[in-house]
């Protein structure tokens, strides 16, 4: 008797393909799934999950739409359109000069004209995600380490580590000093890496910080740069939220720190920027690396062939960002609106008895729910997060997914919804807090 043995398809996949480093099984992403299955809608699904875990900026779309309606030359792209024929020639990874110039100008404007950016040092990538990964490939070998202050954007675990094989060693920050980075914490992280036999190649900071929603003070930026110089390592400053500070005077870019030092030590500094947050255009996939190091610029440019921005998009944005009137108005108005939203959510949370870290930037606030934890542990935090997701029907991001060393903190986004939806969310929180008060009284 012949026994048929089913031969399973045994063709092998790579370690990268089967690894879990993409992190998409973490609560950060699990909450998104819950939202996808039952999304809130002002009209059609008022009991759905409100998405407060997505740092998207929708408060200034009308300004973009107005510009596009009034400036058809930006979106016209065809015969006779300015630059079409020129763009038709060999398109390489340098990108359109006009677009790089426009980006440089925009970045200068955001920094109040305090620093200048050279368009030839701008390397274009399809989003900041790609920019951060590219820089990691360039600055560190597989098995090396980058120091990243906690809490940090959960996506870094994937973007900096997955394909690069580079490790993240956390710089622990805590609430005792508003999560600011200290020289002691930097040194401790460095020593920790050394004790694990890891070569530290650089520090990656996000300024303004995600998830804290606050800009890093210039004295601290100086400390960090001094540390990088002392250890002879790189410093990457992800300034993706630089245009989202509520007041222009509150943000200091690492570029300004360098300018103050007459650009001494600049060859170790690299800035990442993108239009996804400030301009609210994540779908466009536009990111940049700005480096003061010629080798990094050359290498990044060559490697950007894996992550190019289409020329239509470059052309459109070049027109938009070269329009000084538009950009000035946009930057100013966007800041004001984000500030207004921030005030709204802080007041609302305060009324509900919830404190937040004092913030001055970004699309989110850093909320302290530690008094509500059953136990001051990660487990306790996840239990609370589950209740908020499934009962209160709000998707917020637990601090543990941001590697926060203290349980009980949550990132809450406020710019990806209408004011009305935000009000609904605040009402739900208020009700939840009221119920808990009642419960604890009755115990």
């Amino acid at each position: 008797m012949v026994i048929e043995i089913e031969k399973p398809s045994s063709v092998r996949l790579s370690k990268v393909a089967i690894s879990k480093t993409h992190g998409e099984d973490s609560p950060y992403f699990a909450g998104w799934k819950a939202y996808d299955e039952n999304p809130y809608d002002e009209v059609h699904n008022q009991s759905g999950v409100i998405q407060m875990g997505l740092a998207e900026n929708q408060v200034s779309f009308d300004l973009l739409e107005k510009y596009l309606e009034e400036h058809h030359e930006a979106s016209s792209w065809g015969k006779g359109a300015p630059g079409f024929r020129e763009n038709a020639l060999f398109q390489d990874y340098h990108g359109l000069k006009s677009f790089r110039q426009a980006m440089a100008n925009f970045m200068e404007q955001i920094r109040g004209g305090k620093v200048k950016f050279d368009p030839d040092r701008i390397v274009l990538t399809a989003g900041a995600t790609a920019a951060n990964e590219l820089l990691t490939f360039i600055l560190a070998d597989p098995g090396d380490a980058l120091l990243v202050p906690t809490p940090y954007y959960p996506g870094f675990d994937r973007d900096l580590r997955w394909r690069t094989g580079v490790k993240i060693v956390p710089i622990h920050c805590n609430s005792s000093n508003n999560f600011q980075i200290t020289p002691q914490a930097l040194e401790a992280a460095y020593q920790s890496a050394e004790s694990m036999d890891l070569k530290v190649r650089g520090i990656l900071i996000t300024n303004p910080s995600n998830p804290l929603g606050s800009a890093i003070q210039s004295s601290i930026l100086n400390d960090i740069l001094d540390f990088a110089v002392h250890k002879n390592i790189h410093l990457v400053s992800d300034e993706i939220y630089s245009g989202s500070t509520f007041s222009p005077s509150e943000f200091v870019s690492i570029a300004e720190i360098l300018r103050n030092r007459n650009y001494k030590d600049a060859e170790r500094v690299h800035i990442v920027y993108s239009l996804s947050k400030d301009l609210g255009l994540p779908g466009f996939r536009v990111g940049t690396i700005y480096s003061y190091n010629d080798d990094v610029v050359t290498t990044a440019r060559r490697m950007s062939s894996f992550t190019l921005i289409s020329s239509q998009t470059q052309h459109l944005l070049a027109c938009m960002l070269s329009n000084h009137e538009f950009t000035q108005n946009y930057i100013k108005t966007n800041r004001e609106r984000l500030n207004k939203r921030y005030d709204m959510i802080i007041q609302g949370l305060k009324k509900a008895g919830i404190e937040c870290l004092k913030g001055n930037a970004g699309l989110f606030c850093w909320m302290n729910l530690s008094p509500l934890l059953n136990e001051p542990t990660r487990q306790g935090e996840l239990e609370l997060w589950n209740i908020i997701l499934n009962q209160v029907k709000l998707n917020i991001s637990p601090g543990s997914s941001c590697h926060c060393s203290e349980p009980g903190w949550f990132r809450v986004c406020f710019a990806n919804m209408s004011e009305q939806t935000l009000r609904v969310a605040l009402q739900r929180i208020h009700k939840f807090m009221e119920q808990r008060k009642v419960c604890s009284v009755n115990r």
């Binding site: 996949l13 393909a17 016209s76 065809g78 038709a88 007459n262 001494k264 992550t307 020329s311």
Partner: protein
Amino acid sequence: MRLVVPLQGVAQGRGGLLLGSLIPCALFYFLQLYLKRRRSPSDPSPPSSSSSNQPGMTRHSSLSNLLSRGPLRISSLATSIAKPDDSPYYMGLDRASGDPYHRIANPDGVIQLGLSENRLCFDLIEKWTSENLRDWVMGREGGDLSISGIATYQPSDGTMKLKMAMAGFMSRVMGRDVSYEPSQMVLTAGVTPAIETLCFCLADHGNAFLVPTPYYPSFDRDMKWRTGVELIPVHCRSKDNFVLSISALDQAFNQTRKRETKIRGILLSNPANPVGNLLSRKMLEALLKFAEEKNIHIVSDEIFAGSIYGEKEFVSIAEIVGSEDFDKNRVHIVYGLSKDLFLPGVRVGMIYSFNENVLAAARKLTRFSSVSAPTQRLLVSMLSDTRFIVEYIQTNKKRIQDMRDLFVAGLEELGIKCTDSRSSLYCWADMRNLIPTYGEKGELELWEKLLNVGKINLTPGSACHCIEPGWFRCCFTTLDKDDVRVVMGRIRKVVGSHTSCG
């Protein structure tokens, strides 16, 4: 005075040899110490030269660099990439783009024949875009023009709308009965990341792919740079019309295994680049059998599938897998729009796979190289215009054929024969009897002369790892009909002067 006394004693021979040698040594030592302290600290190797147009950047290196452990380091990968690329493929492209030929504005410029771009139907694209691109950025969502449809985060592997439009286009352009399933597509910002992403999914650092030669020069970068994967050439020869043989594949496989390098797959180009020939149905079946036997993947780069205009039929590997009882999980196809639909700067590539696990991993990896949303919208609009697409495809094939006939005839007049292929945007020219010496050196001499004297950029076979010297790839789809005459004249100038010396 006191110091002088012992010295005086030494000078007079008193104190003996000991003092006589000790004191000068001590003096010498202290002198060196003094001079060292006074000397300004020497620069370590400069971190990197500062650009002259960097605002405010000064050249002196920081004191801290001295106290630190040597110069500022970048990764080994970056160090190797930063070096100037000495491949003639890239050098030629750079020369041509630095001094581009233009019939009126720059008649002495370099004519680009090294770039397989298809500009023959650019006028049709121009016309379509000028007639159809009003309000394409914003869409009508709920009546009003709104940007939110494309501004917000999109699925990183492409919208379903675009995938469906691509599926329709592919069926049409390849002229086959195969229907492509949108859910099996992963879209990327160009074909370069599509190939690299597949590599990341199928192979680990240090693993290898078998690649028939000659092959597209950029595979060396695209597939190896960041993945750490090795490419093992499987040589094809002119006596076989550069057609791949299973025995050559088998030999390469066994030899590589002896080195203890794991082979993860075969990378095919079909139609082949640079030769332009097609894989027959029989060969594709044999390759699938081979892959099953060895338990490896097959990646088929079908980016030129829409450029076929002759009588020979193109058979996609998708067809074979669909019709026969082969293991689909090991088959993956790479495709892209840029060869079939010349939209300047449009970056749309595709991984088409039958393996759910590969698709799942590739989807997640697309966050590093997603197609821009406005571009997706533009393409959906264009690809859905059936009337335009049908006209474009027909006109395109005719123009490629006409241009090829003209170009190949021109070469024949010079005594240069090309392999017989009715596909792709280039021809594979036999210049073996024109190279000064038989070997890679001779081939490169001819290439340099054609570039520097003739001012035309061709791709030498050695850049494509061709085992036989003397073959050149010539792309003719960036030319106008009148340019062909100019090209032939320039080749004659070089070839003519060559034969007179030879």
